[in-house]
């Protein structure tokens, strides 16, 4: 067994033991320490609540619906944010006029728009998607702009010498030179969209979603269900953040030699 694999196995073993000890301690404190289970339920009842949600189907419907909303909302903001970012980087006029507006909106948590949505259209699907789009678009725009601005000027010169102009330069050189930083912006945009969606789903009463599971649990004083919902939200978030974006980013950075 190579030492790298041994190191990995050791790390994994330590982490599993740590998680096990944590769960046991939690269970023991609740059972022995006399904490009322309706405030802090033991892990066994959280697991039972999880199984209930999974067997009734409410869990999968919620995960599916939330991911569907993310796909639509995030997809729209990826396109909008990228186009806006390119314009900010390349057009003096857009930068001068819209530049400070974008920066201002980027610093505003998009959930602040929810009361407006309530007033204008009511809390329906449109409002949820609008909050998601507003949450991610400006972050992606700012990151895209920076990614383009930070492309080393040597590539422009090299491109000119080799004969890459205009669209060909943008497609073959600018895009790839900006890619690592742009991916970072996409990841950031995703996490903004994710936070916005969870908040928006908490408020919408007539539809499912992972945020809504939490709210359903609260309305029935079902703390195990709330904790189970939190864990599901964490697992889905980590899977996309690290599993999808992290993997792509690492692959690209390794290819470019930016990371071992």
């Amino acid at each position: 067994m190579s030492s790298a694999i041994r190191m990995f196995a050791k790390k994994l073993a330590v982490q599993i033991v740590f998680a096990g000890v944590l769960l046991l301690a939690w269970e023991a404190i609740v059972k022995v320490g006399g904490v009322p289970p309706y405030l802090v339920p033991p892990p066994t009842s959280v697991f039972a609540a999880f199984v209930d949600m999974a067997t009734s189907g409410i869990l999968w419907q919620s995960v599916g619906l939330s991911l569907y909303r993310m796909a639509i909302g995030y997809g729209v903001s990826l396109v909008l944010g990228t186009v806006l970012g390119i314009l900010l980087a390349r057009s003096w006029f857009v930068k001068t006029t819209a530049g400070s507006v974008v920066l201002a909106l980027q610093s505003l948590p998009s959930i602040c728009w929810l009361p407006f949505a309530l007033l204008w259209v009511g809390i329906d699907e449109r409002a949820i998607l609008a909050v998601v789009v507003l949450g991610a678009t400006f972050a992606i725009a700012v990151a895209t702009e920076n990614a383009i601005r930070n492309v080393p000027p040597i590539y422009l010169k090299v491109g000119q010498v080799l004969g890459a102009k205009g669209f060909v330069f943008a497609r073959d050189i600018l895009f790839f030179a900006a890619l690592p930083e742009w991916l970072g912006g996409m990841k950031l945009g995703w996490s903004f969209a994710w936070r916005s969606l969870m908040a928006a789903e908490l408020i919408r009463k007539d539809s499912l979603g992972m945020g809504r599971l939490l709210e359903i649990g609260r309305s029935f004083n079902d703390v195990p269900m709330m904790l189970a919902a939190i864990l599901v939200i964490i697992v889905v978030g980590v899977t996309v953040d690290w599993g999808v974006f992290g993997t792509i980013e690492t692959k690209v950075r390794r290819l470019y030699g930016l990371q071992k």
């Binding site: 004969g163 470019y256 930016l258």
Partner: protein
């Protein structure tokens, strides 16, 4: 084929304490560089030697005059005037071979032909076994070799080199000097080579342009009278370089006296190599 630099000058907007003003950086300067010549441009820092190269490459427009290649005025950068920069500027998302091939691809050369041509020039710089590697897997000297192969693959009419070895360590630089001499003997490509390294210029060039302190003009055009292949260690080359050293120093001192405090004076050096009073 000749490269003609005709009355070229260039000024910059400089920022001074009392506001901005136009600062003359280069020329006016006229030159004719014949085909197949290795032409070195040598001068103190800030004398406009890189500006001259940028004007020839088409990155910058001269304020007066023009540069023509075969009588055609240069308007913009292009593959007929390939440039090797101080940094290799390789594209990290492409393999070494794809980097060399990219310029050929843009010209519409077919895949198998451009692969052949890329491999030919990678062999010339002794890196064919790294063809499928990524640039980050190569050392600084190897990357600069790839940059040279990429420039040569364009089969340019002039190869422009802007201090191509100044970011490398001394041993790697020596190695690349030998390589460049060999490549030049093989290809006889016209080279304009900008440097502040006298030995480099004497070792490699047919002719050397010594530039004055800014605004850079012709101080002297020197023909290097040695046959190739030259020996780096040859004493003829050293004596020749020492001769040029004195002329360059005058210009370097001029630049320094403008930049430093008024109490600065150039260091005086003994003209006598061996102190006659010393016991031998």
């Amino acid at each position: 084929m000749t490269l003609e630099v005709d009355n070229v000058s260039r000024t910059y907007l400089g920022i001074r304490r009392n506001g901005t003003q136009q600062v003359a950086a280069l020329g006016p300067l006229s030159l004719t560089i014949p085909s197949r010549e290795f032409f070195a441009v040598l001068g103190p820092s800030g004398c406009g030697k890189s500006t001259l190269l940028n004007v020839i490459a088409g990155f910058e427009k001269p304020d007066t005059g023009r540069v023509t290649l075969d009588g055609k005025p240069i308007m913009s950068p292009g593959p007929d005037r390939a440039v090797v920069f101080q940094e290799p500027g390789l594209m990290p998302w492409l393999t070494v071979r794809e980097n060399v091939e990219y310029g050929l691809k843009l010209r519409g050369i077919k895949a198998h032909e451009r692969r052949e041509r890329a491999m030919h020039f990678l062999k010339m710089v002794h890196l064919s076994k790294y063809a499928e590697a990524r640039p980050h897997e190569l050392s600084g000297g190897m990357r600069q070799r790839v940059a040279i192969a990429r420039a040569l693959a364009l089969e340019p009419r002039v190869l422009l080199m802007d201090e191509p070895f100044s970011a490398l360590d001394a041993q790697t630089r020596d190695l690349l000097h030998d390589e460049l001499q060999r490549i030049w003997i093989e290809t006889h490509v016209t080279v304009v080579f900008v440097t502040h390294n006298i030995n480099e210029a004497v070792y490699l060039a047919d002719r050397i342009l010594l530039m004055t302190a800014p605004p850079g003009r012709i101080k002297r055009l020197v023909r290097v009278p040695f046959a190739r292949p030259r020996q780096k260690t040859s004493s003829d080359l050293s004596i020749f370089a020492t001769m040029l050293q004195k002329e360059i120093k005058e210009e370097v001192d001029k630049v320094a006296s403008r930049e430093f405090d008024p109490d600065w004076t150039p260091a005086t050096r003994s003209e006598v190599l061996v102190d006659p009073a010393a016991e031998i």
